[in-house]
Amino acid sequence: MYKYDYIDQTLVNERVIQFKDQVDRRINGTLPEEEFRPLRLQNGLYHQRHAYMLRVAIPYGLLSSDQLRTLAHIADKYDRGYGHFTTRQNIQFNWIKLEESPAILADLAKVQMHAIQTSGNCIRNITSDAFAGVAADEYVDPRPVCELLRQWSTLHPEFAFLPRKFKFAVCGAKEDRTILLCHDVGISLKKNENGELVADIYAGGGMGRTPILGSLIKENLPWNVLPSYLTALLRVYNRFGRRDNIYKARIKILVKALGPEEFARQVEGEWASIKDGDDNFQQSEWDRVAKHFTKPTYKTAEQISTEDLIQSALENERTAFARWLERNVKAHQVPGYASVIFSLKPHGSVAPGDATTEQMLAIADLADQYSFGELRVTHEQNLVLADVEQAKLLELWHKAKAQNVVLPNIGLLTDIIACPGGDFCSLANAKSLPIAKAIQERFDDLDYLHDLGEISLNISGCINSCGHHHVGNIGVLGVDKDGKEWYQITLGGEQGNHASIGKVIGPSFGAEQIPDVMADIIDTFVKHRTADEPFIETYRRLGVMPFKEAAYLNRSKESTTGAVV
């Protein structure tokens, strides 16, 4: 886990002072709201439906137990006792008072955290693989690069007022767990034939109103020249990205308008003159940062077979424990170890991604006892203990049960990604959370869910796509027509190495119909699937028609709407 040095800590402390001054000026009226707005956004402070919302960065998804305790404390002291983990490795607090925001930032700074650039038209918090450093399929541990880029991008003076937000994702494994192609820039790390660390750069991806997958614009870029290359890339975007229309201001529109080749050429032209400058990373910087990401002191332990693990449980617990091992426990690089995912998606009770103060405190203790005091936050809005001894899994499962985070639904239909939607967000066209709840209640049978296998279901309350609906196998999008809330269904989206954007199946449905529509889609899948075929493959094999027919069969015209946004 990276530890701030004097410079990181000083920067964050000074930022707290700067922001406090800005808040004071806002409160005493010398800074008008319009001018304060971009400043507060660059500190993750939104103004939402009910109150201010503060978004705190969890850079590349890594948290220490003490940091989680501080988040618990903030939830308790300044909010209503919970926080919301998002799809971008951030946590949001929904009930913040403007006057108290500097104090919260000061509390965060004490545990080496901040809210810098979690919003606004700047380089956002950099996201990565939640299983970085432990995943069995990893080529390279992306975290040193992530951390160096976090530093490079933090309060970058030239890029604080870009045409729009700018999101980086970094991946270093065979399987992409970062949705690399849905980012403004995706950095795919690997080793070249000489064993040197290089990056492939994808640009111009993003969801939102115009979902586009990123294009490869540079191959085999040496890791150390990332600052100059990314400076060149951002310069092209800063200077030529559209500013006349916020919907067209994202880099994806620029890359699409120019074509990836021309965009790459322009970046190359700019880069040529700065590539040898002293902006690039030094080996000494790598050494300084990388030493924080060395392996923890693993014990030498024998690999334990799943069968033996199951046998170690009491007979009446075995089925449940086996399911948990299957869904929530992942393979590890080190024999005798495993990574555990805590599900923040209990069926029908809380918003996906929410954790209470009590849960956060208890999970922090579990991280201390079972995983070297560290945790990860996934973009699916769950939490991970990455380094658990297999021999301790049963014990951990028992303890985590008390916190209601062991539901074995990871990767299944009810592991829903959802944005806060109309319940909290002032941009929403429709609610997301009650839809997620209704679906979870409808599909509450774990046996059935397991039989269905991997299906991703993602919900966004509006076209901004915070809930990643475009890349859900099943996507639900809230739309507004004549002041009423409707839900549009997309099918065929996927994240990972075969990333794809889902297609709209037809007119939207009313909220009350969604659970039935889901059931019809799922029944169609079950009817046509061969053996253990996953949903996405059945869909690809059959196309949209059978699903579409099932979804609209017996549904009157009045109950659906042609609204397509």
Partner: protein, 206 residues
């Protein structure tokens, strides 16, 4: 902010300028430069008192100034000799496209400026950075237009060393902005990203 006093409505003259030389201390000085929008009439430069220092739009320089600079008797040539002419770049100016004009203009201009049509349009930060990096412009670069207190640190690090703040900004507060940050985590025109030894020893020596 619809009454954004940018140079397009050029009557607003900023009286004071914040000067912050690289390696030096920030101070407030009287503003000697008038931002001319060059649109009213093609020949109107002659209407401005010759001793008045004038920042002309780069687009005007392209269409008129450059040619006039070749003529030993022209208004522009006189101003060049008196060091009373400079240019300002609009936010959407693609300065790299005019590499030769800018290289040729360097000895002629006593000052260059880049405009912020609205404070949240960050293009001119890149313009300043390019002027420093690509054109090796070593003279003053001034931020003009909708320049607010909270942009000063960014501007100073991107390449600006003088700021004609919007008329309503508090200059005392502006002066204090540069004390806010004592460290940096990326290279900029003013600072080097702190390297290994500094990072390790920084806390010892401070």
């Amino acid at each position: 902010m619809s009454e954004n006093p940018s140079i397009k409505e050029s009557s607003i003259q900023v009286n004071s300028v914040l000067l912050y030389p690289k390696g030096g201390k920030p101070s407030i000085i009287a503003n000697e430069w008038q931002v001319w929008n060059g649109i009213e009439a093609e020949a109107s430069l002659a209407q401005i008192n010759q001793d008045q220092k004038v920042l002309a739009p780069f687009q005007w320089w392209l269409s008129h100034g450059q040619a006039q600079a070749q003529d030993p008797d022209s208004e522009v040539t006189k101003r060049i000799q008196k060091k009373t002419i400079g240019v300002w770049f609009a936010a959407d100016e693609d300065i790299l496209k005019h590499h030769e004009v800018i290289e040729a203009g360097k000895p002629a201009w006593a000052l260059v400026a880049a405009d912020f049509p609205i404070f949240r349009d960050g293009r001119s930060f890149s313009t300043a950075a390019l002027l420093r990096e690509r054109f090796n412009w070593s003279g003053e670069i001034r931020a003009i237009g909708d320049v607010l207190i909270d942009q000063l640190v960014l501007g100073a690090r991107s390449g600006f060393d003088s700021f004609a703040l919007r008329a309503d900004q508090n200059l005392d507060m502006a002066l204090k902005q540069f004390d806010l940050f004592t460290v940096t985590s990326q290279n900029s025109w003013r600072d080097r990203r702190s390297q290994l030894n500094e990072r390790l020893n920084g806390h010892l020596s401070s």
